[in-house]
């Protein structure tokens, strides 16, 4: 089970800021997870935008990052500052 977090405007699309999910067998990288979730939420590409960064266990990563050992995965749209 992996904890998924959707920040800022993404939670308007996903309907919640947080969920716990068992990753599908064919999702092994951050990029594959983006694609899977974008379809699942019918997000129309909102989760695929390069400005939406992914953090795995509190570290920003690229799309080819393996999700092995991922406990918490965050989808972070551009930050708005304080």
């Amino acid at each position: 089970m992996t904890k998924l977090l959707y920040f800022g405007r993404l939670s308007d699309i996903t309907g919640s800021a947080e969920e716990t999910l068992t990753l599908p067998q064919d999702v092994s990288t951050a990029g594959e997870l983006r694609a899977y979730l974008d379809l699942r939420f019918e997000a129309g590409g909102a989760l695929l935008e390069p400005t939406v960064r992914i953090a795995v266990n509190n570290e920003l990563c690229f799309d080819d990052m393996s999700l092995a050992g991922a406990e918490e995965i965050a989808f972070m749209p551009p930050v708005g500052g304080g």
């Binding site: 405007r9 965050a74 930050v79």
Partner: protein, 151 residues
């Protein structure tokens, strides 16, 4: 010293605490930012600010460390409000103390630029015309880029 708070921030108390920690520094600069009553999309009824701990704190701590490395500071204080707040509420307080006036001004300015553009916060504004998430203004990006030119 960094503090993210769901409770109201009081600049008067924060400046008093900073004065204590920086006794004899010479100069002390503060910036206090308040929630504006007006936005492009109408008058603001409330503002919601979301952080991602501990990434948000780690990022701000790194900016504080960079400021301390660039300028001779005797004390730094950053307090940021999170959660739901109202127009006029204090959203951010930055304080810097130094024996050198210019250092205190520049470091406070630098930290504010970081907080306004790079700090990990998402901001949702509720106005008379609805609710929207806000992303940084071009002006904030150009302010922040002033600091990298000198690197």
């Amino acid at each position: 010293m960094l503090q993210l708070s769901e409770m109201p921030l009081r600049a008067s108390e924060l400046i008093k605490a900073l004065e204590k920690r920086s006794a004899g520094a010479g100069g002390l600069v503060t910036f206090t930012g308040q929630v504006r009553p007006e936005a492009k999309s109408g008058s603001v009824s409330s503002l919601f600010l979301q952080a991602y701990s501990p990434m948000t704190e780690n990022g701000i701590e790194s900016a504080i460390a960079e400021a301390q490395c660039r300028w001779p500071l005797t004390a730094v204080s950053v307090a940021h409000r999170i959660g739901e707040m109202l127009p006029g509420d204090t959203i951010v307080f930055v304080g810097t103390a130094s024996a050198h006036r210019r250092a205190a001004f520049e470091a406070a300015d630098f930290l504010m630029d970081y907080l306004k553009t790079e700090a990990i916060f998402w901001k949702r504004e509720s106005t008379s015309s609805g609710t929207n998430w806000i992303e940084p203004r071009a002006e904030d990006y150009s302010d922040a880029s002033r600091w990298t030119e000198h690197k």
